[in-house]
């Protein structure tokens, strides 16, 4: 009962939560080249994706600046992005390198930066410590709507009961 009410009441919020951030995030990213991770150690694996080439498009990637050579961008299941991957050679020197992708159709070029650093491994990132504050107890209190409904129902019962007792006192045959 309570969960159903919550579901109905929260439906609009949920829609906002589902669509709002995703839409704004992609609008902000525009049609550039996303490089992940943006900072990597020599020998590390990198994935790049872009919307610039349109839906279901392929593209030619070039990571020769960092010594990884050409790679292929293929359409992915994710939002119609073209995605590609390459591995940074062990011999790569620290620095910032430009990764270039050329759409197969139209020849549009998009570029992104990749930083090679000796201590960039995400496995060595500082780990979180301690517990996580992921609740305030809002699920625990009484639900005011349900309480009000309960009180109203009891009021109806009281009125009905009074009326019946009244009739019985008058001898109306119940």
């Amino acid at each position: 009962m309570r969960r159903t009410a919550r579901l109905l009441a929260g439906a609009a919020l949920t829609v906002v939560a589902l669509s709002g951030p995703a839409v704004s995030a992609y609008a902000a990213e525009g049609a550039g080249l996303e490089v992940f991770p943006s900072s990597v150690e020599p020998g590390g694996q990198v994935s790049v994706n872009t919307k610039a080439c349109g839906d279901r498009a392929t593209a030619a990637g070039d990571a020769s600046a960092v010594g990884a050579g050409p790679f292929t961008m293929a359409p992915s299941a994710h939002e119609g992005d073209a995605i590609g991957q390459f591995r940074v050679p062990e011999s790569a020197q620290p620095g910032t390198y430009e990764i270039v992708v050329e759409c197969a159709e139209g020849g549009r070029e998009v570029k992104g930066d990749l930083v090679v650093a000796l201590n960039a491994s995400r496995g060595q990132a500082m780990l979180p410590r301690g517990s996580v504050k992921t609740g305030v107890g809002g699920a625990l209190g009484p639900d005011p709507v349900q309480s009000a409904a309960g009180v109203a129902a009891l009021a109806v019962a009281a009125a009905g009961g009074t009326w019946l007792l009244h009739r019985r006192a008058r001898g109306d045959g119940i």
């Binding site: 919020l13 990198v46 991957q85 992921t134 305030v136 107890g137 625990l140």
Partner: protein, 205 residues
């Protein structure tokens, strides 16, 4: 005619009495489910690689069908105190992942966290404590692949005695932690700890 009227009113009265009592009785505490000890972490040693690791790619969405979770993921950092930050509490169907750490599917320990509730009521991971060993967790990644994890254990840890290494420490295979609040609640201090789900990669699509 009066008899029918009386019967009708008697029925309405009885129904109102029952539903009123039920409604008021049902407004007590609705604590989120907590795992039983039988869902606890198995002994170390079952660390066999179950599926080949995926290359790094940031996650977009987490799905846990058995507790009807289907939520977008936002990037999380650390607080000044060094604990994992949390997603904005106002968005109740939003979870987060530790974006300086391992991405879900690559070798290591990927960390996902979300609220059990907010001021309005239950939130994205309200039912996390009801997960069982063997339950499936799926993570959609930006490279278009889906990392499929299987739950190994569901534990509750008190905040004052939180096992950082066990929860956040490095792993030799692709693993996932899903964290929310739990472990009892007091008005003064809030939730006493966290429910932590341990899972490892068992497939990918």
């Amino acid at each position: 005619m009066a008899r029918i009227g009386n019967t009708l009113i008697a029925s309405v009265t009885a129904a109102a009495l029952c539903s009123g009592a039920w409604l008021l009785h049902g407004t007590g505490a609705h604590a989120p489910p907590q795992p039983s000890v039988t869902e606890g972490r198995p002994d170390p040693g079952e660390e066999a690689l179950a599926a080949p690791a995926l290359p790094p790619s940031p996650p977009d969405r987490i799905r846990i069908p058995s507790i009807r979770v289907n939520a977008p993921l936002t990037g999380l950092g650390l607080t000044a105190a060094g604990s994992l930050d949390v997603p904005p509490a106002g968005q109740k169907n939003l979870a987060g992942w530790y974006e300086a750490g391992t991405t879900p599917g690559e070798t290591g320990t990927a960390i996902v966290a979300g609220h059990v509730d907010n001021a309005e009521g239950p939130a994205v991971f309200y039912d996390l404590g009801a997960l069982k060993r063997g339950s499936a967790i799926e993570v959609d990644r930006r490279d278009g692949r889906v990392a499929r994890f299987t739950v190994d254990a569901v534990e509750v840890y008190q905040a004052k005695d939180f096992p950082d290494d066990k929860v956040y420490g490095a792993a030799k295979r692709p693993e996932l932690r899903v964290i929310t609040c739990g472990g009892g609640y007091s008005k003064a201090t809030g939730y006493q700890g966290n429910v932590v789900v341990f899972a490892h990669l068992t497939g990918a699509a």
